[in-house]
Structures are given as structure tokens and as C-alpha cells.
Amino acid sequence: MNKVLKFALKLLGKLLLVALGFFVVTFTVYFFNLDMKLTAAIEPFLLKHYDRIERDTHL
């Protein structure tokens, strides 16, 4: 019983740790706007890519 409880507590602890880690990481990303800073850095490369695509441009 003890073993099961121990395992459960350990698992819970691990889950809490993972959840906490997830929260810390995502909240940091959220609060410091890192998601937008990353996508802002990606955008110029995408725009260059679009310029290279061959298009059937006509009316």
C-alpha cells in the first residue's frame, strides 16, 4: 500500500513539477511576449520566400 501511495505521490509530484515547468516556461513566453518576438523575427524570411515563388500574375 505504502509502495502504491509512494508511487502515486511521486507521480503526482512529477506531474506537478512538469505542470509547474510548463507554467513557468509558457508564462515567461507569455509575459515577455517572446512568442511575438520570435514570429517577428521569422516574418522577413517568409516574405523573401514569397518573393521567390513563381506566380501566374495577370488580370
Binding site: 509558457t26 507569455y30 511576449n33 511575438m36 514570429t39 516574418e43 517568409l46 514569397y50 500574375t57 488580370l59
Partner: protein, 521 residues
């Protein structure tokens, strides 16, 4: 970092010349965690979207898809400074719109001949215009009504102020005059630049808002029908929509459009479904009227750019067809009543009560948030939210089926924007002053979309009437989709100048007075 409304200097979040803001707001533990949870949900929506290989493929094919990198920032711009119920109302509106647009994109790429090429799915797709009332789709539950222009230009500019510039330039390279409205111009540019998904059993175009949109459709349908082989029906909605003697024509256009869809998709009009949608439209109308009623009091609750954007989506693009919007209406009403009971305010000080009139600058949709936070001007309602209040027939009877045709025609005639910019001067000019009275407004912020001829054609009369009535009329000129003509700061300057020189006031939040976000999304 403050819990209380109005404590933060919102301008400090901006970095001169930066694309994005320095960080997100601290709104107190509860509200910050709430905002964070909504951010996570948005990230999950985006994550789910990019899990599908076809959507990634589309990301690398269509230039306008790059704008969707900025989705979370759009939400941040609209939630600036908000707390409590206001924050929740805004998220309810914004998050649902985001979800709806994600589904629209996913469906477009599924059927797109270049991307997913699901031909069976494509046979069930009816393409519709951007800014088009989708009433004619209310009785086709098995069909998908998709707009290519909504994600490629309309939403794109909401996300990124510079989104339409490339397409405007393309259209002008092909000889289109630079003085036409940049919205249909950009839509035509997308078509010319071969940057629109190709799918659908047929398409319903409409002379939505203006001469430009009517004519821009001609560019699009040429490619769509004559090259891609997708039959196009042009739904002609009368311009003089308040006149009795145009209603039969409008109704017949609806009948013809339905017959066209039936012919090209093999589906039959479903009255039962239509009346279900009609009930939801009526519910949305009832809620909107309640919100507007609240806005006549000293404690307005659902207002500003969120109201405009949500109304536009719910009223036209959804038109009762998606039950989730009914849920959102209910939730928003509940939150608004809660806040109203507590006499809550969205900013620390309300100095002026304003009606926002004219056609809003699309590249600066969150301007109304700025107006409230910087100068304490409460945008009680905007022209786009003052749409039809007609109660649609809800019960399926032989007489109501005939009435329903006229109801759909009425909705189509009364699409957002055109219900005021067309139909004679009474709806644009005279009714404005009636609204200022009803809402106890002391100010009118008049968006002057410079290439909207129907609007600018009343410029002098607006001035004359405002002078006669002693109402502060503040012009805010812009070019709808093109911030190169008048920048966001150019928009600010027009308000700043009026507030300082005419009203002799100081800003509530001076950090917002000058924001150099020309490079920003």
C-alpha cells in the same frame, strides 16, 4: 505593473520602431492568469492549425498567411488596459472570431486545388465575398460558405497594418488608379497576384459596400469564372435600400441566388434550418440592442472596436449559422449586466461620450482602445454596429417563407457599412444626429476614409450640421487599408491636435500621445 485600471502607462509597452510590444500587461493575479489562459487557448488553436501539413503548405504558398503570425498581438492590442468583465467580454469576442477564422482557413486549404485538393469537399463549397451578408446560405446546412477575401485581406490587415500594401501595389502596377478604395483594390490585387485559393462549386458575389467593391468583383470573377471554371452569380443588392419600391427586386435577387446555388451544388434549400438560423439572428439582434441600450447610460459595457468587429462577424459572416455565436452573445450579455450592476468603468476616467461614425481605419482597428485610454473618450457605438434591428420571421409557415425571402433581401441590402453609406443622405447624415441625442453624446469622431466617395461626399454637410447643433466633430482621415497614406500616428495626431487646441485638455495617459509604431504589426 498595476492591478487597477489606468495605473499603467500603456505607451511604455511600445518600443520605437519595434514590430512588437516589449511585454504583456500585468493586470493583477486573477486577470493576468485569465489573460494567460486565453493566450494558451489561442496558441492551442494555432498549434492545431499548423499540425495539418496542408496548412503548413499553404503557409508557404500564400503571402498573406504570414500575417497570421501576429494573431496573439491583435488580441493584445484590443485588450489593452482592460480588466474584469471587460477583459472577459473582449476575449469572448476575439477568441471566437479567431477560432472561426482558423476554421475558415482550414476549410479553404482543404478544398484548394493547389493545397488540399479535396474535390468532394470543394463541391460543397460556395464562395462568398468579403463584407457580404451570408443570408442566402442560411438554408443550406450541408454547404460551406467560404470567403477567400476575408482571410486574405480583411483579417490580414487587422493583424498586420502593412498586410495589404503588396496587393495594392500589384493592382496599381496593372493600371488601377491609386484613388480607389484600397479594400477592393487589395482584393483585386490578390486575384491578379495569383494568391487566392481556388475551390468551390460556385461563387456568390455582391455589390457590397460601394462602386469600388462592385467593380473589384469584376477582376476577381474574370479569373474565377473564365479561367478556373467556377460559376459566379452576381447578387445585386439595391442601393436605395430604404425605399419600398426596390424590395421586390431585392427579393427576386435572393430567389435567383438560391436557385443558382441549388443548380450548381445539387443541394436543396432547407426551410427548417433557415428558421433555426433566423431565431439565432433575432437573438443576436436582441442582445446587440440590449448592449446599445446600456451604452446610453453613464455605464456603457459592450463598446469600442470589439463591438464593431464582433458585430461585423456575427451579423454578416455568421448570420445565425453557427450556434457558438449564440452562446457567446449570451455570455457577453451576462458579463455586461454584471459589470453594469456594479457600475464598472473600462478606463479610469470618462471625459467625453462619442459616437464613432464613418468607415473605420482597418489598419488601426484598435484605435478606439487608444481613444479611451489616452483621452477618456468613450466610443459608445460606431456606425458599423448600428445595423438592422428587423425581427425576422421565425416560424415555418407558407406566409413566413415568403416573408423570409424579403427578410434575407433586407439583410443583404443592409450589410454593414453600405446600410449607412448608401440609401440616401438620411441614413448617413440625419440619423447620426439622432444617435448622438439617443446616446447623450457630446462628440462625434468621424472617420473619414478618404477614398470612400459615398462618405466624403457628405463632408461639408457633416460640418455644417455639427456647427448648427453645437456638437464637437473631430475628423480622422485615413486610407482604410494603407497606412502609408496616413500612419497610425497620423491618426493620433488628428485627435491630439483637436483635444489640445480646441478642447484644451491634457491626455489621461500621456505615454500614448505619440507612439511610433509605423513598423509594428
Amino acid at each position: 505593473m498595476a492591478k487597477e485600471i489606468g495605473k499603467d502607462r500603456l505607451g511604455d509597452f511600445y518600443k520605437d520602431g519595434g514590430k512588437v510590444r516589449k511585454r504583456r500587461e500585468w493586470r493583477g493575479v486573477e486577470d493576468t492568469l485569465y489573460d494567460y489562459s486565453r493566450w494558451l487557448t489561442i496558441m492551442m488553436t494555432l498549434g492545431k492549425f499548423v499540425m495539418k501539413p496542408r496548412n503548413v503548405k499553404a503557409m508557404f504558398r500564400y503571402r498573406w498567411m504570414a500575417n497570421y503570425l501576429a494573431v496573439p498581438m491583435m488580441v493584445d492590442r484590443h485588450t489593452q488596459g482592460l480588466r474584469g468583465e471587460y477583459l472577459r467580454i473582449c476575449h469572448t469576442e476575439q477568441d471566437l472570431i479567431i477560432n472561426d477564422v482558423a476554421q475558415l482557413l482550414d476549410s479553404l486549404f482543404r478544398g484548394d486545388r493547389r493545397i488540399g485538393n479535396d474535390t468532394e469537399f470543394s463541391k460543397k463549397v460556395v464562395l462568398v465575398d468579403e463584407n457580404e451578408m451570408t443570408a442566402v446560405m442560411m438554408g443550406f446546412p450541408t454547404l460551406k460558405s467560404l470567403s477567400r477575401e476575408t482571410p486574405s485581406t480583411y483579417v490580414s490587415v487587422l493583424l498586420n497594418q502593412h498586410a495589404a500594401e503588396h496587393y495594392i501595389d500589384v493592382a496599381q502596377e496593372f493600371g488601377l488608379a491609386g484613388d480607389v478604395c484600397p479594400m477592393p483594390e487589395a482584393e483585386a490585387g490578390v486575384s491578379i497576384d495569383d494568391d487566392a485559393p481556388v475551390l468551390g462549386a460556385c461563387a456568390i458575389q455582391c455589390n457590397t459596400t460601394c462602386d469600388g467593391s462592385l467593380l473589384g468583383n469584376g477582376v476577381i470573377s474574370r479569373r474565377l469564372e473564365l479561367e478556373d471554371g467556377i460559376p459566379v452569380f452576381q447578387l445585386a443588392a439595391p442601393l436605395r435600400h430604404r425605399e419600398e419600391d426596390v424590395q421586390d427586386y431585392a427579393a427576386q435577387e435572393i430567389r435567383n441566388a438560391i436557385a443558382f446555388i441549388e443548380k450548381h451544388t445539387g443541394e436543396k434549400w432547407d426551410w427548417e434550418h433557415y428558421f433555426e438560423c433566423a431565431k439565432r439572428v433575432n437573438y443576436a439582434t436582441k442582445c446587440r440592442q440590449e448592449w446599445l441600450e446600456m451604452n446610453r447610460t453613464p455605464y456603457p459595457q459592450v463598446f469600442g472596436s470589439n463591438l464593431a468587429l464582433y458585430t461585423e462577424t456575427n451579423y454578416m459572416a455568421i448570420c445565425g449559422r453557427i450556434p457558438a455565436f449564440e452562446e457567446a452573445d449570451r455570455k457577453i450579455s451576462k458579463l455586461a449586466q454584471q459589470a453594469y450592476a456594479k457600475k464598472k468603468m473600462a478606463a479610469k476616467e470618462y471625459r467625453h461620450r462619442a459616437i464613432i461614425w464613418g468607415v473605420q481605419s482597418h489598419y488601426y482597428m484598435d484605435f478606439l482602445v487608444w481613444l479611451l485610454n489616452c483621452w477618456g473618450i468613450v466610443p459608445l457605438t460606431d456606425m458599423l454596429s448600428l445595423v438592422s434591428t428587423r425581427v425576422l420571421a421565425e416560424e415555418d409557415t407558407p406566409e413566413n417563407r415568403e416573408t423570409a425571402i424579403y427578410d434575407m433581401a433586407w439583410l443583404t441590402e443592409n450589410m454593414i457599412m453600405r446600410n449607412r453609406t448608401h440609401g440616401g443622405y438620411k441614413v448617413l447624415l440625419n440619423e447620426l444626429w439622432e444617435f448622438t441625442q439617443q446616446f447623450n453624446a457630446d462628440m462625434v469622431i468621424l472617420w473619414e476614409h478618404m477614398s470612400c466617395k459615398a462618405l466624403t461626399g457628405m463632408h461639408g454637410m457633416f460640418e455644417d450640421r455639427a456647427r448648427e447643433l453645437g456638437i464637437h466633430l473631430v475628423w480622422v482621415s485615413h486610407d482604410l487599408f494603407d497606412p502609408r497614406i496616413i500612419s497610425r500616428q497620423g491618426v493620433h495626431d488628428q485627435i491630439n491636435n483637436y483635444m489640445r487646441t480646441v478642447m484644451r485638455e491634457e491626455p489621461i495617459d500621456p505615454s500614448l500621445e505619440v507612439l511610433h509604431d509605423e513598423e509594428s504589426w
